[in-house]
């Protein structure tokens, strides 16, 4: 953060400037999340709805239910797989754009090509895998025609595979952008210095580029983890309802208007996500890098 030119000026304008943001965040983030926490301790009664008693029943119900654990295991598995793939893709694509493309204009153009789909509808992008991966889809018919297979591959769509494909398709961008941003700030003469000092190509990547892009990697990981952990819709559409996610419980409870237990599920999810976020923030001081 830059310090003010005239430090003695009144602080009132500053507070007025930040007030609208604070109000929106308070009204549509802090209060709702606080209420979710409160409601999660309330009791649910059939036909009556929410009864404001203090009870731990919702949490005990959830934590003693093996389904919860199965769903979290499945979500964590997806999170780790997607994190690994998006990191590898994001790192090398950003690396290519920053260090291999020589013209800045072309690099920016290619970067935009990667980012444009982000500004289009996620649901449409998910659905668009159907004619590609389906039983009569492009990949199956191509493989059949080439004689590689004589039965359409069933595991391409409505499987764990298609869920991972959709996640990678939707979320790799969240890795590319922050890593690109960090790498673009690396002084290229550092790499030359490393080479002059006798570093190999891998040595430069491992000892110079990777450490200097760790803020971007951390931010990207933060996005990918929270998006996959909090997802319900991709996993439902792309697994054809076969796989659940940590949020499936929330969805089911809401259909029976069991808000207290849905809230308890939400709180558990929130705690898991915040713990992961906190550990990432511990590793890298994201704010210092962002505001610099």
């Amino acid at each position: 953060m830059t310090s003010a030119p005239t430090a003695k000026r009144s602080m009132l304008p500053t507070y007025l400037q930040v007030a609208p943001l604070t109000i929106v965040l308070a009204l549509f983030f802090i209060v709702p999340v606080a209420l979710v926490v409160v409601v999660s301790f309330f009791r649910y009664q059939m036909l009556v709805g929410i009864v404001p008693d203090f009870t731990l029943k919702n949490y005990i119900d959830l934590l003693s239910n093996p389904t919860t654990w199965t769903l979290y295991r499945s979500t964590l598995k997806f999170t780790l797989i997607v994190l690994a793939i998006t990191f590898v893709l994001g790192f090398w694509i950003a690396y290519f754009l920053v260090f291999h493309v020589r013209s800045l204009l072309i690099a920016i153009g290619l970067f935009l090509v990667c980012t444009v789909p982000f500004w289009t509808s996620n649901i449409i992008r998910m659905i668009s895998w159907r004619p590609v991966l389906g039983t009569e889809g492009l990949i199956n018919s191509a493989l059949l025609k080439m004689g590689v297979i004589d039965q359409p591959l069933q595991w391409l769509l409505y499987s764990d595979f298609s869920v991972v494909v959709a996640y990678v398709h939707l979320f790799t961008l969240f890795m590319i952008v922050p890593i690109f941003n960090s790498m673009a700030r690396i002084d290229k003469s550092l790499l030359e210095a490393a080479v002059d000092a006798g570093a190999t190509r891998w040595g430069v990547i491992w000892n110079v580029v990777l450490p200097l892009s760790k803020t971007g990697i951390a931010l990207g990981a933060l996005f990918v983890v929270t998006l996959v952990m909090g997802d319900f819709f991709v996993v439902t559409v792309m697994s054809g309802g076969l796989s659940g996610s940590a949020t499936s419980g929330i969805f089911n409870d809401l259909q029976f208007l069991n808000y207290p237990r849905a809230a308890a599920s939400a709180v558990i999810l929130l705690i898991v996500v915040l713990l992961i976020a906190a550990s990432i923030f511990r590793l890298v001081d994201v704010r210092k890098e962002l505001v610099r």
């Binding site: 953060m1 830059t2 310090s3 003010a4 030119p5 602080m11 500053t14 400037q17 930040v18 609208p20 943001l21 604070t22 929106v24 965040l25 983030f29 709702p32 999340v33 209420l35 979710v36 893709l89 694509i93 290519f96 754009l97 260090f99 291999h100 935009l112 444009v116 500004w119 289009t120 509808s121 649901i123 992008r125 659905i127 159907r130 004619p131 590609v132 492009l138 018919s141 398709h169 290229k188 790499l191 030359e192 080479v195 190509r201 933060l222 929270t226 909090g230 997802d231 319900f232 819709f233 929330i250 969805f251 809401l254 939400a266 929130l270 996500v273 976020a277 994201v286 704010r287 505001v291």
Partner: protein
């Protein structure tokens, strides 16, 4: 890469490997979208897969003159004003807040981390929270109140982060120089600050619009009884088994592309005008 030399000489082999990876990634990104685009012109065979037989516009007609596809036009008429509203508010609020963060003030760190938390909180959790909040306040949930707020809680942190990046380039010494040269406060803002910040503001607007226009989890419980477009599409994915779904995909994608093109070309135009002006 630098291993051979930064800007001349033969390209290292890694260039070709990574270029191939990049090309594959782009095909992976755009391939399915193009498939949907082509299949939305499917003929009366109503087949959801290739090949394309008797290309026609019938599924677009089905979309706009609905017999059974649901209220697509109505949903669009809600999604568009909502997205424009979120866009305007995001620009206004995140630009002013961005300026506030240039000074040190009490609570800056708390507000910053709240914004980041708002960015990473699962959309579904927030959706429930806002629904419950409105219940308790006795307000009905609707797209122009609760959904607007839900979208802002996600668009504002993005806007704020972009403003940080932009304002990082606006050194306070520019303003001091303008002031020393006799510019009034208003002149400084108009001639120094706005030209530097303006392209960033367009980027913030682009984020505000598209994040709202395509947002699903945060809209899910907060729009009330009438659906926005992504929710309408979601309903259609389970009900509609005709290429009308693809036609809808094509139409929304075209709207998104128009908005992106508008934003990017205005940024390019401003940059070009500025470099010519000097």
């Amino acid at each position: 890469m630098a291993a051979s030399s930064p800007s001349y000489g033969p390209r290292p082999w890694t260039f070709y490997v990574l270029a191939a990876l990049f090309a594959l990634f782009v095909i992976f990104l755009y391939g399915p979208m193009i498939a949907v685009l082509i299949l939305s012109f499917q003929g009366p065979s109503a087949s959801l897969v290739f090949p394309l037989r008797d290309p026609s516009l019938m599924w677009f007609d089905e979309l706009f003159n609905p017999r059974r596809t649901g209220d697509v036009v109505g949903a669009f008429n809600r999604s568009l004003p909502l997205a424009v509203g979120v866009m305007l508010l995001t620009v206004l609020i995140s630009v002013t807040a961005g300026f506030a963060f240039r000074r040190r003030f009490k609570g800056a760190t708390a507000i910053f981390y709240t914004a980041i938390a708002s960015l990473i909180v699962p959309g579904l959790v927030l959706s429930i929270g806002i629904l419950v909040t409105f219940r308790y306040l006795g307000w009905p949930a609707s797209w122009y109140t609760s959904a607007l707020g839900a979208h802002l809680s996600w668009a504002l942190p993005f806007g704020l982060l972009i403003m940080f990046a932009i304002l990082g380039r606006l050194s306070p010494s520019y303003e001091e120089a303008a002031y020393d040269l006799g510019a009034s406060k208003w002149q400084t803002v108009k001639e120094v600050v706005v030209p530097i910040v303006f392209p960033g503001m367009i980027a913030v607007a682009l984020f505000g619009f598209t994040l709202s226009y395509d947002e699903f989890p945060r809209s899910w419980l907060t729009v009330g009884s009438k659906n926005t477009l992504p929710l309408e599409i979601w309903t259609m994915t389970t009900n509609v088994t005709s290429p009308a779904l693809y036609a809808l995909g094509t139409v929304t994608t075209i709207v998104s592309f128009l908005v992106i093109a508008l934003a990017l070309s205005s940024i390019i135009l401003i940059q070009r005008k500025r470099s010519r002006g000097k």
